[in-house]
């Protein structure tokens, strides 16, 4: 067995081991890498940044724990940015294990907002987030397409009460807020076909401005909606989250993760090259 055959028959567990070692070493070794922002993420940041105090945005937490790694950083970055700008947020989840994700994000953001922080040179004083005043969490309902259509008529049709059981009419934030007409935009963070439903039944039916944040696996499939103007912004995977964190000057797990990504990708590219060289050379030898 020559070197090329060995390259071809390398036990996959060596690949896993080397990749794990590289990831752990780059995690332990602190350094930063430059993050270049793209137009599609800048659109979302600029849209949120230019909204006025007390404007309402609608944030869909449509993912389960298996997509937490990519979408949680997006939710934290967007919500923190919005709350620091004193915007109000209506959270909803159309994913069955999403309530836990949204609840955790709201609790963590409440803690974070209590601290004074400086973002992009602007000092933001800490404050307490109040449920029903600064945000509302509608909770979860099954059948996302029907829920999106129902909310387009009145939020109270699918959600007579919020996640904590309080009637929507008794929440100060929901006074005069009937449907999508009263929210400035919907930002949906999705790990499945809920994103399609927002495009078709939300933006398509009710013309609400829509931006999407999605897992890396889904990322490439949604660019046609950006090109057609059906969504005004797009964030794909951890890179999208890192770009939003950079734009909002709020470095978090996404930017921290990108340096590990960099070296993991280099290792994967090297292994792909190695496999291809092994394949081509062994084929050439067989021909000779």
């Amino acid at each position: 067995m020559n070197i090329f055959d060995r390259m071809m028959s390398l036990d996959r567990r060596w690949v896993f081991l080397i990749l794990a070692l590289v990831c752990v070493i780059t995690y332990v070794w602190p350094f930063s890498i430059p993050i270049r922002t793209t137009h599609e993420v800048e659109s979302i940041y600029n849209y949120v940044d230019t909204l006025k105090e007390n404007d309402i945005i609608f944030l869909g937490i449509d993912y389960d724990p298996n997509a937490l790694a990519e979408l949680h950083p997006m939710a934290y970055a967007i919500a923190e940015h919005a709350f620091r700008k004193k915007l109000r947020i209506i959270f909803v989840t159309l994913s069955q294990n999403g309530p836990g994700m949204a609840d955790q994000a709201i609790r963590d953001l409440t803690d974070s907002l209590r601290q004074d922080k400086v973002y992009n040179g602007v000092e933001y004083k800490g404050r307490d987030l109040v449920n029903g005043v600064d945000y509302v969490f509608l909770g979860y309902k099954p059948y996302p397409g029907l829920v999106i259509l129902g909310m387009g008529q009145n939020f109270r049709i699918p959600f007579p009460t919020d996640y904590y059981g309080t009637p929507l009419d008794s929440l100060p934030l929901m006074k005069g807020v009937l449907n999508y007409d009263q929210v400035k935009c919907v930002i949906d963070l999705a790990a499945g076909n809920v994103a399609d439903m927002w495009v078709v039944y939300g933006a398509g039916r009710y013309n609400v401005p829509l931006a999407l944040g999605m897992t890396g696996v889904m990322g490439a499939d949604y660019y046609p909606y950006l090109n057609s103007g059906q969504v005004f912004g797009l964030m794909g995977g951890l890179l999208g989250a890192a770009q939003y964190e950079k734009l909002s000057d709020n470095s978090g797990p996404a930017i921290d993760g990108m340096r590990i990504q960099l070296y993991a990708h280099i290792i994967i590219i090297l292994f792909i090259l190695m496999g291809n060289i092994g394949f081509l050379m062994s084929r050439r030898e067989k021909r000779v």
Partner: protein, 265 residues
């Protein structure tokens, strides 16, 4: 991660242990992986049942029916028409009987009819018409100089999208033999498809590594908190248990390997 209580520490430690159990599959299938896998499936299913009850059935059906006298069941409910979806739902359960399963076709037919009626016009408009229009919209060459070469609105981007869409569709058009000019168009189409698949593959790799990165961050944060805030003793005990378990697994593997070699000899 901030300072945590011992209770939280125990739960997060369980999370760390289960993470390692799942990763152990990368070496090979083993009882610890199976334990974690079954736990995930079981907990997810149980959690979903409770979520569905509290967010679906209870508020949407039972609470709306349950506003009368209990001894009249739901006959004096102020919203008796909610019995209709309840009956339709029960009809679905006849799937479990060979004799009565035909009854379940009625609620399925009703559901499919409503879903199709709602979906078809909107799907047609948003996924076909709007996409067709955006593929063939006027190319504004005037903005070519102001933008990046491949940015939307540069003209060149629109041209590539148009040609790429047409040639990729042509690749799947088999009524005309792919020879001559058509061969070139189909070849361009397959290149466009490959670029698309490559972009998806790249994003997928990034997604998978992101999951691993998040777990490393979780384990790293857990390590720091466990050592600094809770108890270095508990931290050492945890790793002692983990190393012992995986040590036993490794020992078992070595014994199996030696026995296999002995049998072959």
């Amino acid at each position: 991660m901030e300072a945590m209580s011992m209770g939280t520490f125990i739960w997060t430690t369980l999370g760390a242990f289960l993470t390692l159990c799942i990763f152990s599959f990368l070496y090979q299938d083993n009882p610890f992986y199976k334990l974690a896998e079954h736990l995930v499936v079981g907990v997810s299913a149980g959690y979903f049942v409770i979520i569905l009850w509290h967010n679906g059935l209870q508020p949407n059906l039972f609470d709306r029916l349950n506003d009368g006298n209990w001894y009249l069941l739901w006959l004096d409910s102020s919203k008796p028409w909610y019995m209709i979806p309840a009956i339709l739902g029960v009809m679905m359960w006849t799937r479990f009987s060979r004799k009565w399963s035909w009854i379940s076709r009625w609620p399925i037919a009703l559901y499919m009819g409503i879903a199709t009626g709602v979906a078809v016009p909107l799907e047609m408009k948003n996924r076909v018409n709007v996409q067709l229009y955006s593929t063939m919209k006027d190319i504004e060459w005037g903005s070519f100089l102001g933008n990046g070469l491949l940015d939307g609105g540069s003209g060149l981007a629109e041209l590539i999208i148009f040609l790429g869409t047409v040639s990729a569709l042509f690749y799947f058009f088999f009524s005309k033999e792919h020879t001559g000019v058509f061969k070139g168009v189909a070849r361009f189409g397959i290149w466009i498809l490959m670029i698309g698949f490559g972009a998806s593959f790249g994003y997928t790799v990034m997604g998978r590594i992101s999951l691993f990165v998040q777990r490393i961050q979780y384990l790293g944060d857990w390590t720091k908190v466990a050592w600094d805030d809770v108890s270095s003793g508990a931290f050492i005990v945890f790793w002692f248990i983990v190393i012992t378990i995986f040590g036993i697994l490794a020992f078992y593997e070595i014994i199996r390997f030696v026995n296999k070699r002995g049998t072959q000899a």
